[in-house]
């Protein structure tokens, strides 16, 4: 009998780690060789990527299909303005705090939406996001329907603000990707995927289904809330209709479905596709959304595992492997 070993790393995963290191080095040195415009674009790309990865964590790994993640984008954006302008907290520190506030608000929200099962969870989260939007739009201190402007960053030089915003974005992006990867590789992540594949089977094996799903929901709210704060640190103007728009969740869903649901690589590929399409077809307005929607529907029908699933199945590669495999050393 040939000797065997159980391992997780493969040649592809070592290549993946190397590629990730190169990408990170490029991102960290970008201010030295790129322009302000490319930095602004990257902030946008990173925000989309984190939104998508958080939605992927919910739907692809925890089986929680939320159509209401825009609630946390909006809450994050408004928390940033309130913390920085009204309470005098440093606006860049406020991005992390906005994530914490979103996570805190996710607890009572979960108490409501976790009463829904399956498909009704999707509509329930959407309804609750509307409650947040209408609640903010009816609050005088938050500027009602017109929203608020982030004034705390006005004293800063524009270059300084853009540079620090960029590094906050890179930090958030790295934290989100590494955090999700570490989370999924942990004992907790294993339980999570067991719940997704069969909640009752996982239950009988001692996985606490409710606590596992709640933890993921709160974690995703943290990442999404911090992203909302990052977006409005970049845009400087927050209004209820834009911040709580379903389009945030729609973008995340399209990115994940096209790139590959339930894979860590999928949202990265999907964000690249999404952004390329937007840059080339953005001028066609609604046609671009029609194309994206049709692509996502088509992907779901023809290849539900998305672009990365196509690659992974064809060549059996995992850049960021979660599963262990038995290899022969004969």
């Amino acid at each position: 009998m040939a000797p065997v070993a159980v391992e997780r790393g493969t040649r592809a995963s070592r290549a993946g780690a190397a590629a990730a290191a190169v990408a990170l080095a490029a991102l960290l040195t970008l201010p030295l060789w790129g322009g302000a415009a490319s930095m602004r674009q990257l902030v946008e790309i990173i925000a989309l990527l984190v939104l998508a990865q958080m939605w992927n964590l919910l739907a692809g790994y925890a089986g929680l299909i939320s159509i209401g993640q825009q609630a946390y984008v909006g809450l994050g954006g408004y928390t940033l303005v309130v913390l920085a302008d009204d309470l005098g907290v440093d606006p860049f520190v406020s991005v992390a705090l906005a994530g914490a506030v979103a996570a805190l608000l996710a607890l009572p929200t979960a108490a409501l939406v976790f009463r829904f099962q399956g498909a009704y969870f999707a509509v329930g989260t959407w309804a609750v996001a509307e409650v947040y939007r209408l609640g903010v739009a009816n609050t005088g201190a938050l500027g009602r329907g017109t929203g608020r402007t982030l004034k705390a960053v006005f004293p800063l030089a524009r270059e300084t603000r853009e540079l620090v915003t960029y590094f906050v974005a890179v930090a958030l992006g790295v934290a989100a990707l590494v955090g999700v990867y570490a989370f999924l590789r942990s004992r907790f992540g294993l339980g999570l995927m067991a719940v997704r594949d069969s909640a009752s089977a996982a239950d009988t094996l001692g996985v606490d289904v409710f606590r596992t799903q709640l933890a993921v929901y709160v974690l995703a709210a943290f990442g999404t809330g911090a992203t909302g704060a990052l977006v409005y640190l970049n845009l400087l103007r927050v209004s209820p209709d834009a911040a709580f728009s379903i389009n945030w969740t729609a973008a995340a869903i399209f990115i994940v479905v096209i790139g590959g649901l339930g894979t860590l690589e999928g949202p990265v590929i999907g964000t690249a596709v999404y952004f390329t399409l937007r840059e080339t077809l953005g001028d066609y307005g609604s046609w671009y959304m029609i194309l994206l929607g049709a692509l996502a529907v088509g992907a779901m029908l023809v290849y539900p595992r998305g672009l990365w699933g196509l690659v992974a199945d064809r060549w059996d590669v995992r850049l960021f492997p979660l599963e262990r495999r038995v290899v022969s050393r004969g």
Binding site: A119, A122, V131, L261, S286
Partner: protein, 290 residues
């Protein structure tokens, strides 16, 4: 008296919401999926009526005769060509596919009819009202809407309860595997259910267009109101849907009376309160656990 009027208008509005909710409830009852494009299909139907009114000068109520069968056919095709291919893969694919369709329909309507708000004019019926005395009056059209909602619910109940096809639908909803062993073709039944669902929601969309203005982005709110009416009434209860719609309608008109910006928000809050206090709704039928 003003408050009595507010409640009365809310109850009548509930008739319209019940029309929106019935098809959603039917589809969930039969297939356990939620059609996230449900509201957008109603707005698509309303714009279909707009096109007929603009091109041929028809009365919008006459347009019902053309739009409702067209939407039923669209529902049949949607199920046959798209959703039936996703059966047995869990709830995620149908939820995401119908969400994608929702975005596609909204943007296609924006492209075809611009972002302008539209309204359907049925030639005076929308403004005529019936005086009840004591300063109260109800619009004829609201009353007709409520009566149509009741008629649709009675019709659906007779169809599901008394006919062979209805029995097959119930069997398939309870246990698709055993139903299939008895020779029931569930794919054909699902297509029929989706046709009925979109036919009803086409009526709701055109009635909405007569009652108030609508635009390409009016769909998602309709889906949420329909969903809330279903949850308030209780899953699986057809008449609960009507009561749920009326409670939602009264909550909205009462809230709007307190402060103009609070109408829809009050409706949502009443929905959340029901969810907290009676998670299974007011009239839920006991059902097998699944």
């Amino acid at each position: 008296m003003a408050w009595v009027d507010t409640v009365l208008q809310g109850l009548l509005l509930g008739g319209l919401y019940a029309l929106f909710a019935t098809g959603l409830s039917l589809i969930f009852g039969v297939m356990r999926i939620v059609n996230l494009a449900h509201g957008d299909f109603s707005i698509l139907a309303a714009f279909g009526a707009v096109a007929l009114v603009d091109a041929l000068g028809w009365n919008p109520l006459l347009a019902l005769a053309a739009v409702v069968p067209a939407m039923a056919l669209a529902g049949w095709l949607l199920q046959r060509v798209v959703l039936n291919r996703l059966l047995g893969q869990g709830i995620l694919p149908p939820v995401l596919v119908t969400f994608g369709l929702s975005i596609v329909i909204q943007n296609a309507l924006l492209e075809a009819f611009s972002a302008d708000s539209r309204r359907l004019d049925p030639g005076g019926l929308d403004t005529a009202s019936l005086a009840l005395g004591a300063g109260l009056a109800v619009g004829w059209f609201s009353l007709v809407t409520l009566l149509v909602a009741v008629a649709v619910l009675v019709g659906l109940q007779l169809f599901i309860g008394r006919t062979r096809l209805g029995r097959a639908l119930r069997a398939s909803a309870d246990d698709p595997g055993t139903a299939a062993l008895m020779g029931i073709d569930d794919r054909r039944l699902y297509a029929l259910a989706m046709a009925v669902s979109l036919g009803i929601v086409a009526v709701a969309g055109i009635f909405l267009g007569v009652r108030t203005t609508f635009s390409f982005s009016s769909g998602p709110d309709r889906l949420l109101f329909a969903f809330e009416a279903v949850i308030i009434g209780g899953l699986g209860s057809l008449w609960g849907t009507l009561v749920g719609g009326c409670i939602l309608g009264v909550a909205q008109t009462t809230g709007a009376r307190l402060s103009p910006g609070w109408g829809i928000l009050t409706g949502h809050l009443v929905f959340l309160a029901v969810l907290l206090l009676r998670p299974h709704g007011l009239f839920a039928r006991p059902r097998r656990s699944d």
